[in-house]
């Protein structure tokens, strides 16, 4: 077990270092930091002095080491656009994105599992067919189009929910801001969360459906039926538990995607999160923010992957044995 954990952690670190390498290459070679800082009329000597003071004349490996060291201390330099430390910019916007992503993930998981189970158990009912059709449309419609559709329906025509922004936010502690404690904040969260979660929801629904139908065909379900267990015990005790194990993995991994996909949702709803910041960085070639965001998303993905793998081991008794050996 310990060997497995250590091996997985080492793998994760290796992936993180390669992501850092990409971020470093971008940071160092694509957007020359000096060119961003100086004007056209800056004398060459001044440029050289700046270059030396930033350590850009050191060997590449030393620079990469420095980049890694700085990254470990959450130091990603200064944004070209805002002239502010990148870390500060990201930290200010992180709560908005995380609240949105978590709400969307919970929505996707809960609704997706319920719909998937229903579709698997009542395969031929009209509602199951409707869910199936909706799921096909769900994976075909681009996120931004769904967002526009929801805005048009619920904000423009019905006027029930706001179409942009986070509503009123409350400050918790030093830097965390939350919209979950005010009515306007909660209202503002509804449409973006649905938009962001819809794609993952259909994914989870299809997965749960396929997986559960597979489980319902297994011998242990047949044997459970032959023992006269109640339908409820078979469906929700035996089948669902076995279905949910692979679903946990995928759903966990999707959390990373949700945070990345938030870029689109945040743009549609003008949600003041990290995604919107990243998009502005791409539009304005603000390399430090792009590099930092890449590192951040990479870190999230790697961490989530790691946690899911470990959690898997705790849920499935068979794997606990496999891991010990």
């Amino acid at each position: 077990m310990l060997a497995f954990v250590i091996r997985r952690i080492l793998q994760s670190i290796a992936v993180m270092v390669s992501v850092a390498l990409i971020a470093f290459v971008m940071f160092r070679f694509v957007g020359d930091p000096v060119n961003q800082m100086v004007g056209v009329d800056t004398p060459q000597a001044e440029v050289e002095r700046l270059r030396a003071s930033l350590g850009l004349n050191d060997p590449t490996l030393v620079q990469f080491g420095r980049f890694l060291w700085n990254a470990l201390h959450f130091n990603f330099g200064v944004s070209y656009q805002f002239r502010l430390p990148v870390t500060q910019l990201l930290a200010e916007r992180a709560p908005a994105t995380l609240e949105l992503a978590l709400t969307a993930a919970l929505f996707a998981l809960f609704v997706g599992v319920v719909m998937g189970v229903y579709c698997a158990l009542r395969r031929d009912s009209w509602l199951a067919r409707l869910f199936q059709a909706v799921s096909l449309i769900g994976v075909s419609l681009p996120t931004f189009l769904i967002g526009i559709l929801l805005i048009y329906l619920f904000a423009v025509i019905l006027g029930w929910l706001p179409s942009n922004g986070r509503g009123q936010v409350v400050k918790i502690g030093n830097w965390w801001t939350t919209g979950l404690l005010t009515t306007s904040g909660l209202k503002a969260l509804v449409l973006p969360a649905i938009t962001l979660g819809l794609f993952q929801m259909t994914l989870i629904m299809r997965l749960v459906r396929a997986e559960m139908m597979e489980v319902m065909r297994t011998d242990y379900i047949k044997f459970a039926k032959a023992r006269g267990l109640t339908t409820r015990a078979i469906h929700f005790g035996h089948a669902l538990k076995n279905t949910l194990i692979p679903v946990i993995t995928i759903a966990g991994l999707q959390l990373g995607s949700i945070i990345a996909f938030a870029i689109i949702t945040e743009t549609v709803f003008n949600w003041p999160g990290m995604g919107l910041l990243f998009l502005k960085a791409v539009q304005n070639v603000d390399i430090p923010i792009m590099a930092a965001y890449l590192m951040l998303i990479g870190f999230l993905f790697v961490t989530i992957n790691l946690l899911v793998d470990l959690a898997y081991g705790f849920v499935d008794p068979r794997l606990r044995v496999a891991m010990r050996t």
């Binding site: 075909s140 419609l141 539009q283 998303i297």
Partner: protein, 320 residues
């Protein structure tokens, strides 16, 4: 049999056009196509979109990007069946006075071109790397697959965005009009190659141990020739399915990038750009500017996905 055997694939690749068509009409795949009306409708829609895109300059009533024919006085005219509509503009005009119907046809052209080229680029990269990894094995395989693993941890849209950002930095001097299409094609190509590489690598590893490859090696054929002439035709089958399914994704990716403002500029709009423009007029009640491009995009992608789903099932003997 639904899965083409190596001989059949060789036939498809090398054989004449007539033989291919005859065999197609005779196949189970065609029979399953005929039996599903959803698939037939989807195919018809996709065909219509391709035709509309290919012949846009001839079909479209106006050239929406020729300043000489566009008048600001025609701006924001609703569809002809609404009050204030104008029979010259069937589904209305946008804020610049451009005919929406024509703009959609031209937008479709750009969307399909970028999506199609992007997917083809992705397939070429993926097939090449997959063949190399599978056939050569060892360190080449390890390096290629590690890159694939790292890339797979990120969603394609994020990678496309990053590549787009980097490419913009590199092409700084160039105008958006000239650089946009190549940048998008490259972004999509580099974001979607992993799936092809993995598939091709897997089947190449199986094929390379077969007798015909050993025979080719014994005759002393050089490795690149064996890979391209002998292994490739036998592993390329599943690529068709991935291509179709990815086309839908690529079109969405392009539309998303354009919507986010890092794709095609308003002077050279794709469906995504048109939606992005229309989105601004949603609150002023000019619903048609966003609705028609949006619906076109949705229906096109849905049809492509239906076709891809059907193709996957029809070619997968396990499901039948």
């Amino acid at each position: 049999m639904p899965t083409p055997t190596p001989e059949e694939v060789k036939g498809l690749v090398a054989g004449g056009q007539s033989g291919l068509v005859a065999r197609l009409l005779d196949s189970d795949v065609y029979a399953s196509f005929r039996s599903s009306w959803m698939t037939m409708i989807a195919a018809a829609i996709v065909a219509l979109c391709f035709i509309g895109a290919a012949f846009a300059p001839w079909i479209a009533p106006t050239d929406p990007f020729d300043p000489a024919t566009v008048f600001l006085s025609d701006a924001s005219i609703p569809p002809m069946w609404q009050q204030g509509g104008d029979p010259r503009f069937i589904i209305g005009t946008d804020d610049q006075g451009r005919d929406m119907y024509s703009a959609i046809l031209y937008g479709l052209r750009v969307s399909l071109m970028v999506g199609g080229l992007g997917v083809l680029l992705a397939a070429s990269i993926g097939i090449t790397l997959g063949l190399l990894a599978g056939y050569l094995g060892g360190r080449v395989d390890a390096i290629i697959m590690r890159i694939a693993d790292v890339q797979l941890t990120f969603p394609a849209i994020l990678i496309a965005l990053l590549i787009d950002g980097v490419a913009q930095a590199l092409f700084r001097g160039m105008s958006r009009e000239t650089s946009a299409i190549p940048v998008l094609v490259i972004s999509i190509g580099l974001s979607f190659w992993v799936q092809y590489a993995r598939t091709i690598r897997g089947s190449t590893m199986v094929e390379k141990n077969k007798d015909y490859v050993a025979a080719a090696r014994l005759v002393g054929l050089p490795t690149p020739i064996i890979m391209i002439r002998h292994v490739l035709p036998n592993v390329i089958g599943p690529v068709l399915v991935i291509l179709t399914i990815n086309l839908g994704l690529a079109i969405i990716t392009e539309a998303t990038l354009s919507f986010l403002g890092v794709g095609l500029p308003p002077t050279q709009p794709s469906l995504g750009t048109l939606i992005s423009i229309g989105n601004r007029y949603l609150f002023s009640g000019d619903w048609w500017i966003v609705t028609f491009p949006g619906a076109t995009l949705a229906i096109l992608v849905l049809a492509v996905n239906l076709l891809g789903d059907w193709l996957r099932d029809a070619l997968n003997p396990k499901l039948r």
